[in-house]
Amino acid sequence: MDEVVAEYIRRTVLKIPRDEILAVLRQWGFLSDTQLGAINLRQTKESISQEVVQLCEENSADLKQAAILDIIYNNIYPNKRMWSVYQMKKTGEETDLFDFSNFKKKFKGRLQSALKNVTISFREYEDNAIWIRIAWGTPYTKPNQYKTSYVVYHSQTPYVFISVSVLKSNLPLLCQALVVASNYHDIREMELRSHCLNSLKDIVFKRYSQNFQTHYPKQQKNVPTENVDVRIIQEDKSEKERIQRVNQEVFGDGPQPKLEFAQYKLETMFKSDPNMDVLERREPFRCLVKFSSPDLLESLKSLAPAGMADAPLSPLLTCIPQKARNYFKIRERKDVLPGSFVSP
């Protein structure tokens, strides 16, 4: 077995938490059940990884297998990478009969005709997600298995999720191959980025809970009545109820998609008392506002009930899932440029 492959497998196994190693290897399906049973999980992770490499040696693992293991690892732990969302456009209106084997052939063909030294691996998942792993080389060197990009694509949708860790110069190549393989004409990067891949999917596929008004009532959730002491009166009960209602209208009932930040680039004029005349030249005041949180949308949802902000919140904050973006450029009202959000 190739030394490079052996080392790569060893390092991938080392990344997996001890308790999950067997589950991941089982999903990989390269080692038999008896082989998996023989692994001693009570030794150090270093030793476990060595043992796994030994077993892979017995089965003559090659680069292809190692790449699949890497895809499986990234599919189970996608939140370790930063994902960007890209949107493709097509002009034709023919029904798309998406064929996976056709897609693979076209993608590989396009990418390899431009850059020979790449390792391309595919894996299809039950939820119609196609994972693509690309290890990049240069026109003169073999692919470096540690310089990888990952693409997640759901067939017949215009959205692609890309995690490019290094070598941003290869991005145009990658985008072109995607467009050709999926029968689209154009691709552009959306202003939507996060570590949580599933939340990005929720936002663009509209899988998050939006509050739609219907006559047909959904199951009424029983609000648990706490053991309230009758002597305690809530002075602002009606206001609290109003905030709850407004919050529910805006955010819906279910959990919010998980984003880590929202960034607003302000290019607006500084408005001050004309007497003060802080800025002599009437130039836009450049300012960057960034909201960070482990779970931004949930924290925005809890601002009003916690009394830290007025309800309803500014639409600049609440439009994030619907506009599917968390990077905004705010210009003066008179500018109505496409791609920029005009501040109210």
């Binding site: 209106e93 029904t95 798309d96 009969l97 998406f98 064929d99 996976f100 299809e124 119609n128 759901h154 067939s155 017949q156 949708t157 215009p158 959205y159 663009v204 596929f205 509209k206 939006q210 739609f212 008004q213 219907t214 006559h215 047909y216 053991n227 002491d229 009758v230 002597r231 619907q322």
Partner: protein, 276 residues
């Protein structure tokens, strides 16, 4: 320390408050029941008196009131609410229902396949300044923009009908593919390859006959997105198989185009049984 003591006092106070509340509630209940007993006693006396009067042969004019009970306003209202709810339920069951909102209408398209109710999809449509979709929960692989471009401005009913056709057909195709994987997993060799719209399925299945089993591969194409049956079904068997299998493959291809996927497999099982 002091805080612990305060906590204990607070807990005690809370307990005694709860007990007091309970006691008060019970007393209220008791008073209520007592009042009800009085009420019923009065009613009983009234009826008794009425009975006596009737037996004496004297009909009171007011008796008519207690005989034919006028439906109270409340009962009428309750009946109205119930029949309205039934009507809304009926509309919901037909598949397309809507509710007026502040700025337009919120439509709900419910999908079903062969009597099984599946997912519902929503559209918030604004009517002013022009008809446009504000937000929706339709999956991205359904060509919503295309359908909207064609019909939304001109004929909203047509738009809803076309969209409902697309969604129902998709739900039907997906249901068939899921049923195939669930109920006929023993017949399938390898995985069922599908795509988001479930309009291209590729799978391998085995058919047993004459005490042997034969492997077939099928590729089903659904070019009509409003249809839940394939427009094309390519069935092939291994190249060195007996000639009659080619006939069988052709027959299967026809069956796939005619019957729902799981029903097609049901028919294969039946054919096998009759053969043996």
């Amino acid at each position: 320390g002091v805080l612990a003591h305060l906590e204990r006092l607070e807990a005690q106070a809370r307990e005694s408050a709860l007990k007091q509340e309970e006691k008060e509630q019970q007393e209220q209940k008791l008073a209520g029941l007592k009042a009800r007993v009085q009420e019923l006693r009065a009613r009983r006396d009234e009826l008794r008196a009425k009975l006596e009067r009737q037996q004496k042969g004297i009909l009171e004019k007011e008796g008519v009131e207690t005989d034919a009970e006028q439906p109270s306003a409340r009962a009428v209202l309750e009946w109205k609410i119930r029949s309205m709810k039934d009507l809304l339920q009926l509309f919901y069951l037909t598949g397309i229902s809507g509710k007026l909102t502040k700025r337009g209408v919120c439509f709900c398209i419910s999908t079903a396949y062969e009597g099984t109710y599946l997912h519902s999809y929503y559209l918030d449509v604004l009517t002013k300044p022009e008809v446009q979709i504000q937000r929706h929960s339709v999956p991205t692989f359904i060509p919503l923009e295309q359908i909207a471009r064609k019909h939304l401005q001109t004929d909203i009913r047509r738009f809803l009908a076309v969209l409902s056709d697309h969604l129902n057909a998709y739900a039907g195709r997906r249901y068939q593919a899921d049923q195939l994987q669930e109920r006929f997993s023993d017949r399938l060799e390898g995985t069922l390859q599908r795509n988001s719209l479930c309009n291209l399925l590729v799978f391998h299945y085995n058919i047993s006959g004459h005490s042997r089993s034969f492997l077939f591969s099928a590729k089903l194409l659904y070019s009509d997105l409003c249809c839940s049956l394939p427009t094309e079904a390519i069935v092939s068997c291994t190249p060195n198989a007996p000639g009659e299998l080619a006939e069988m493959a052709a027959a299967h291809s026809e069956t796939f185009r005619r019957l729902a996927l799981h029903k097609a497999f049901d028919s294969f099982s039946k054919a096998e049984v009759t053969q043996d």
